[in-house]
């Protein structure tokens, strides 16, 4: 497995953990809890990072294709 794939795997792994535990915290928090918004920000940031990773991965793939043409 090349370094990019390992990096992609490990990053998604870590972000998955952040999202998973954020969801767990949110499910256990009452609606009026003042920290709800903070936890939600953590979850949204991790989801944003996963989207960024996907774009980075696609860009990498396009670059490799371009190099081999």
């Amino acid at each position: 497995m090349n370094d990019d794939r390992i990096f992609l795997h490990d990053m998604k792994n870590m972000l998955g953990i952040i999202i998973g535990f954020s969801n767990l915290l949110l499910e256990g928090m009452p609606e009026e809890d003042p920290h709800r918004g903070d936890v939600d920000e953590i979850r949204l940031a991790a989801e944003g990072a996963i989207a960024l990773l996907a774009r980075w991965s696609q860009a990498n793939l396009d670059r490799v294709k371009g190099d081999t043409r």
Binding site: H9, N13, L24
Partner: protein
């Protein structure tokens, strides 16, 4: 978290547990997350931090489901999955591979390793519980089938135990029939069916009263009719079990004769399934060479003559009987020397 801590079991009272799930991941936070999610849903969770540990737990604890990361050091998820699926004792355990990558080649490798399903990280709790529920339901169903089959085999052994004269009969028949089937070049599934058939061929005798089954004198016409019902009763008993579908023709037709004078369906010639014909031959041989309430044991060479007489009467296939005799003479089984 230390490896020992990873082996902990989040125990719930058995009655309330939805099933036993083994979670395997080298990243402890992932294990903790899945453990929390599944325990909350009502599953009993076992955990392992590497492939080797996972194999040990699968063999020891027989989980209902394995949720496993693909990328692990040493033995990866594909390798563990392959070993679970190659082991006869664990091959029906559902395995879901969890991966942070979703490339097609990873899925193909997982399918080749025998994985039942895939989950992509980050894991959606609803998807996770839906898959777990569905796979565990399927596992329970196959477990029930296995249990049902073992009940029927036990029943057959109880019938054997009812009659002191037939002690070891099922065992010998399974032995003779598989030897003949293998010598005839039959496939593995047919030979396996002959093995099971050896134990189950007379399971229908459970429905025959002791007074008839164990009678030492001559049977009345009514009693003989009752005895002739045992293949039909046995067929009905095995009827609902998919795992016994190859055994059913043996159970129903092992008393048929090529000329149509057998029972229960009076089949003729090739209409009698081959496996049933094989069982019929070895059943007659064993009945002749062992003591019964109505007759003493007879030497095996006399049994061979009787089998050849049955060939001449048009009851049995010559090639099958000759192959059986050749095989028995070649292997010089103990029954040959029975006085």
């Amino acid at each position: 978290m230390s490896p020992l801590e990873h082996q902990t079991v989040t125990e719930l009272p058995r009655a309330t547990s939805l099933g036993k799930v083994l979670v395997v991941d080298d990243v402890s936070a992932n294990v903790d997350l899945l453990n929390t999610l599944l325990s909350r849903e009502g599953y009993t969770v076992l955990t392992a931090s590497d492939g080797q540990q996972a194999l040990e737990i699968v063999a020891r604890e027989h989980p209902d489901l394995v949720l496993m990361d693909v990328m692990m050091p040493k033995l990866n998820g594909f390798g563990v999955c392959e070993q679970i699926k190659q082991n006869k004792a664990t091959r029906l355990t559902p395995v879901v591979l969890i991966t942070a990558l979703c490339k097609r080649e990873d899925r193909i490798q997982g399918i080749n390793a025998g994985a039942d399903d895939f989950l992509i990280k980050p894991i959606n709790i609803h998807e996770l519980t839906a898959r777990a529920r569905s796979l565990i339901r399927l596992k329970r169903y196959t477990d029930d089938l296995d249990t049902a089959e073992s009940v029927i085999v036990s029943l057959a052994l109880v019938i054997e135990a009812r009659d002191a004269y037939t002690d070891g009969h099922c065992n010998r028949l399974a032995d003779y029939a598989t030897a003949l089937g293998s010598a005839l070049g039959l496939g593995n599934e047919d030979v396996a069916a002959l093995y099971r058939g050896g134990y189950l061929h007379d399971v229908g005798k459970v429905g025959i009263p002791d007074a008839v089954l164990l009678k030492s004198g001559r049977l009345t016409q009514e009693e003989y009719k009752a005895i002739q019902q045992h293949p039909v009763i046995g067929d009905r008993l095995c009827g609902e079990l998919r795992s016994l579908r190859r055994v059913r023709p043996i159970v129903r037709h092992h008393h048929e004769r090529l000329d149509g004078t057998g029972y229960p369906d009076r089949l003729t010639g090739d209409d009698i399934p081959l496996l049933a014909q094989i069982m019929g031959i070895v059943d007659v041989y064993d009945a002749i060479t062992t003591e019964r309430p109505y007759k003493p044991a007879v030497r095996s060479d006399r049994a061979f003559e009787e089998l050849m007489d049955e060939v001449k009467q048009g009851w049995r296939r010559r090639d099958l009987v000759e192959e059986f005799i050749r095989l028995m003479q070649l292997t010089r089984r103990p029954a040959i020397d029975t006085p």
